[in-house]
Each structure stands twice: as structure tokens, then as C-alpha cells.
Amino acid sequence: MSLLDVRDLSVVFQRRGERPFTAVDKVSFTVEPGQTVGLVGESGCGKSVTSLAIMGLLPKRGNKVTGEVLFEGTDLLKLRPDDMRDRRGREISMIFQDPLSSLNPVIPIGIQVAEVLERHQGRDRKQALRESRELLDAVGIPDPQRRLSEYPHQISGGMRQRALIAIALACKPRLLIADEPTTALDVTIQAQILTLLKQLVDETGTALVMITHDLGVVAGLCDTVNVLYGGKVVERARRHELFAHARHPYTHGLLNSVPRLDSPRGERLHAIRGSVSDNIPWAEGCAFAPRCDNVVDACLEGPPPLEPTATGGDLRCNNPVSEEVAVR
């Protein structure tokens, strides 16, 4: 049994007087224990909404979530809110993009770590703070004793994200969802945080769902990668497969738009035409068709199905990039 088995997860935002908007469209993927899985895509592709839906953190009103989110066989979407609340922070944790705004500005760091332990492990304040110090130490925050009583604005951005990681891993959850955890950080700090995350999930055996638009992050971390476009999975592959033979024109375009040290001098960076706003609804064809270099007539006649590939992945494309064309 997979640790996490997301089946046909859909999220439809519906506000009074507005047309319903499908942010996540029948997304399915699995995460095995200890595995690191990437959800990759550009802004608005539904990757963050997917993670919030798994966590049960979407607003109570204005949206409809369907499908199944099986966590060790239990459908999280069917749990009573209080039962889900018992699991959040204990079995499934999440870290967010902006470490400054994700920490409460008026509460000392120590309390913000300790309160998870008090809630889920039944520790008293004193013991929770002692363990918090060890946690801060484990995520590489220098002088942890002093940090306990400091406030978020008093420590650096990198340290804040380390503190949030300490909070998320405090109860040794089996699954950690990281939503763009390095996007708001300096490039030099990004690598440190990724190394730390990798080290921690390796040590604790925590499975990691890495949500990112940054293929560099994927390359360094993920076992399996799900590429999302317009709320649907368009390509799924093991990391090496994806980087060696990206089949979907969108994935291919993403990979080619990353500057590389080994590319010939003077070569221009490839850019994907247009933007997400050019998408057509999946019902009418492939959402990526208007931006696609490989577009064929079939692409505008209905949504292409997600089909298994020879290399063990899945692909949703009528005219994929041929396997021989390696990335550049």
C-alpha cells in the first residue's frame, strides 16, 4: 500500500455569480514511504491547491473537492474535521513558501515550535521547549537556546525557514509537503535548505512531496516527478527519465528554458510561447495546445488521455517529443 494515494482529485472553485473554475482536474499520483515526489509546474497550474486539498486547508466555502486522498488507506477527504486536525502536524506536515509571513510575528520562535509538541505529543511547556531547542539545533540554527525567546523578525530568512522545517518535522510525520520552500530565499540559502531537507527526510524516513516550479530543485531531490499543466498531470516519470527524455512538449520546453553551463556560447535560451492565460479548457482539447510547438489537429478535438509510456511513466500528449531528441 502506498503511503499517499491521490485518486482523481479535483478542486472546483465556485463563487456566487461567477463561473466555476477547475483548479485541479482529476489529478492522481502516489507517494511511497520515504520517497520524494515532485509536483512541478508554473504559477496557476494547481500544484499549491493540490497540496492544500490534501492537507484539508482549503477555505470551507467556495470550493468543491472530489476524488480520494488515501493516506495509509484512509480517505482524508472523508475524515471529520477534528480527526483531520489530529493528523495535521503529527502525521502530515507542511512548509510554505514565505517563511516570514508563515511565522506569527508576535510569538517567540520557541513557543511556535513547542506548541506542536504540546498539542500532539502531550508535552508540558517546559519539556516542549527543551525539545524545541534540540529541534532548532537539528535544523542547523546556531545558538538555539537564545532563538527560543526571539521573534521571527529578529532572525534571518534562512533561519526562519529552518525554524518552519523544525516545526513541520517536530512530531516526525510520515509525510511532509513542501510548497516552494526555497522560492522566497536567497540563492545561496536555497541550496542549504534543500540539502537540509534531503538530509532530514533521509534520516527520519519521512516521505516528501516537493512542490516547485524550479527544475533545479527537482533534479537534486525528487525520485519521481509529476508535471502539472492547467490542473492536470501531463507527464509523470522517474527523475532520470524526465531529464534525459522529456516527452511532453511542455516539460521539454521547461527543461530547455533552464540556462546550462555546458550549452554552446551565444545560444539563446528557449522560451515557451504565451502564458497560462492562453489555455483552452481541457474539455475542448489539450490546454497547452495554443502554446505548443508540436500541436496537431487531434489536440483541438478533445482532451488527450494519460497513457503509460514504455519507460514506466505516464504521458498525456498526442504528438510527444520523440525519444531520440535528448535535451539539447
Binding site: 509571513s101 511565522l103 523578525h153
Partner: protein
């Protein structure tokens, strides 16, 4: 922190000196005056001149002001022209009544306003929220004296739930310790007096509380709505914390910052509202003293002292608000 307090206190002194000069000159340029009030319209010019000289009002205004300030620094505000008693005594008799009323109103406004504002935000767009918005609009727009007479009419004339006026039932004996009648009753174990004072306090306090209540509800609602969208509230939810913890520790603590500021700013509204409320319920506090001192013959010394006192209270309350801000928000503390 200490430097901030010292600087603010110095600012306060400058404010009070400027204000005292303004009041002094303004009062003496009002038509009518204590001499006319004391002697009546038909007094002879000689007697007027005599009294004017006796009271010192014949001297140039700057000289009068200088003498006034000289006495003020020693804590002497002169004697009331109407009663002849020292101004400090007259005011300290009326002061506790107003403070008791204002505190009761503030307790109602905060105690009811913060929970209501929070609930309205949490149930945004639902029935309770709409009801609260309509209610606060009414609360802000209804004139205090109108509401006062309305409540008085309904609850003392039609249904006899509350007494129509005063602070205690006539004939009831209470021992005066602090001047706060409800508190005095508790201190001296005269619980019947305490209950009676509370019973008298309810209607005036509700009347005075309406505007601050409406403002606090609105500010709390808007502030909670802001905080609910903050990332750290989502983090708190992601931690699986209990509702109670999220509400108290993560939402309200942040949302209350603007509310605390509002409470300070409402002090002014409370003081001016007290004048009207006290008039309606014949309360006998500073508000009554102000109206009586103006209509009863321009009691300069009393008026000067009251206005200065009001300004002092306003500035001190807002200083306390600023200081409390530093306690709630660590980001203010460091600067």
C-alpha cells in the same frame, strides 16, 4: 522605552501649557461672565466694578494668566465662583462618578465588541455578520441624548426595570471610600449599596457604550478578517492546533493591535458622550459639572481645570495605549 516615556511626558507638558493659554483667553472672551451671574442684571455699575476688581478680572489678561499659572504649578486651581469651594475639591467630588460611568461603558464596549467583531468576521456574509453591520451602523449614527431618553423612557417609565436617574436610591446610605459607588459597596461590605449602584449604572453605561461598542465591533471585524488571511494562521492550521489555540494565540493577539489603538482614541468620544449621558440620567459627574459651570454663570476656574483634566486624561490614556502596543507587538519594542 524609558526615553520614549520621558519624551512623551515632555510633549504632554507643552500640550497642556498651550491648551491652558487657549482656554484661558477663550473663556474670558465669551459673552456674559461670573460677575453678571453673581450680581444679576440689575446691579449698579459701581457694584460690578467692585466685584470685578475683587475677583481680579480688571487686570490685563496676561497678568491674570500669569497668576493663574503660578498657582496651578502649586496644585491650586482657585475656588469655584459658584460654590466658593476649592476647584480641586469640587472636581474630585464629581470625578469618580464620571470615571465609574466611563469604565463601565468601556467594559461593555470591549467585552461585547471584541467577541461580536470576531464572530462577525468568522461568519462573514452570514446572518450574524449582516445583523452586526446593520447594528453598528445604527449604533454609530444614533445621537447619544436621543438614545438616552429612549432607553430611559422604555426601561424606567414603560417597564420599570431600572431607576430613571441618579447613582443611588434616595435614602440609601453608603460609605464613601473611593467615590466609585459599586466598588465602595464591595469594600465596605455594604453589598446592598453596591447592587443598587450597579442597578443605577446599567442604563447610563449602555447609553454611553453604544458608539465605542459600534466602533470596536467594526475595527475588530475588519482586523480579524485581515488576520484570517495571513499565512501564519494557515501555518497554525497546518500544525493541527486546536481552534481555541488558533483563535486566542494566533488570531486575536494580532487582530487586537488596531483595537487597542481604537480604545485610546475612543477616550475622547467617551468624555464628550459622558456630558450628554450624565445630563439625561442626572448622574452628577464631571459632565454635569461642566454644563452647570457654563450655564450657571461661567465658572472660569472650574471650567479651566476640567478642560485641562480632560486633555490630560486623553493624552495619558493614549500614552498607555502606545506603551501597551509595545507589550503586544515585539516589533515595536526593538525600535
Amino acid at each position: 522605552m524609558l526615553r520614549v516615556i520621558v519624551r512623551r511626558l515632555l510633549q504632554l507638558v507643552v500640550t497642556l501649557i498651550a491648551l491652558s493659554a487657549l482656554i484661558f483667553i477663550w473663556l474670558r472672551n465669551l459673552p456674559g461672565g461670573p460677575v453678571e451671574a453673581l450680581l444679576g442684571e440689575r446691579a449698579t455699575p459701581e457694584r460690578r466694578a467692585l466685584l470685578t476688581k475683587a475677583l481680579g478680572y480688571d487686570q490685563p489678561i496676561l497678568v491674570q494668566y500669569g497668576k493663574f499659572m503660578q498657582r496651578v504649578v502649586t496644585g491650586d486651581f482657585g475656588n469655584s465662583i459658584r460654590s466658593g469651594d476649592p476647584v480641586t475639591e469640587v472636581i474630585s467630588r464629581a470625578f469618580p462618578a464620571t470615571i465609574e460611568l466611563a469604565l463601565a461603558a468601556m467594559i461593555i464596549a470591549v467585552g461585547l465588541g471584541v467577541p461580536l467583531g470576531y464572530l462577525a468576521a468568522r461568519w462573514r456574509g452570514r446572518f450574524l455578520d449582516n445583523l452586526t453591520i446593520a447594528g453598528t451602523l445604527l449604533g454609530i449614527s444614533i445621537p447619544i441624548f436621543f438614545l438616552g431618553y429612549l432607553l430611559k423612557d422604555v426601561f424606567t417609565q414603560n417597564i420599570h426595570w431600572f431607576p430613571p436617574s441618579g447613582r443611588l436610591t434616595t435614602g440609601l446610605d453608603n460609605t464613601n471610600v473611593t467615590g466609585f459607588f459599586v466598588l465602595d459597596g464591595l469594600l465596605t461590605r455594604e453589598f446592598d449599596a453596591s447592587a443598587d449602584a450597579l442597578w443605577h449604572l446599567i442604563l447610563p453605561a449602555i447609553t454611553l457604550a453604544t458608539i465605542p461598542l459600534a466602533v470596536i465591533v467594526r475595527i475588530t471585524r475588519a482586523s480579524v478578517l485581515d488576520v484570517l488571511n495571513e499565512d501564519y494562521v494557515r501555518t497554525a492550521e497546518a500544525k493541527g492546533l486546536r481552534h481555541r489555540t488558533i483563535r486566542g494565540r494566533h488570531i486575536l493577539r494580532n487582530a487586537l493591535l488596531p483595537v487597542v489603538t481604537t480604545i485610546g482614541l475612543q477616550t475622547g468620544a467617551l468624555l464628550s458622550g459622558a456630558v450628554l449621558t450624565e445630563k439625561v440620567y442626572n448622574w452628577g459627574g464631571i459632565g454635569t459639572l461642566i454644563t452647570d459651570s457654563i450655564t450657571g454663570g461661567r465658572d472660569y476656574p472650574v471650567l479651566q481645570a476640567i478642560i485641562l483634566l480632560a486633555a490630560l486624561i486623553f493624552v495619558v490614556v493614549n500614552l498607555l495605549v502606545d506603551l501597551s502596543y509595545a507589550f503586544i507587538d515585539p516589533r515595536v519594542r526593538v525600535r
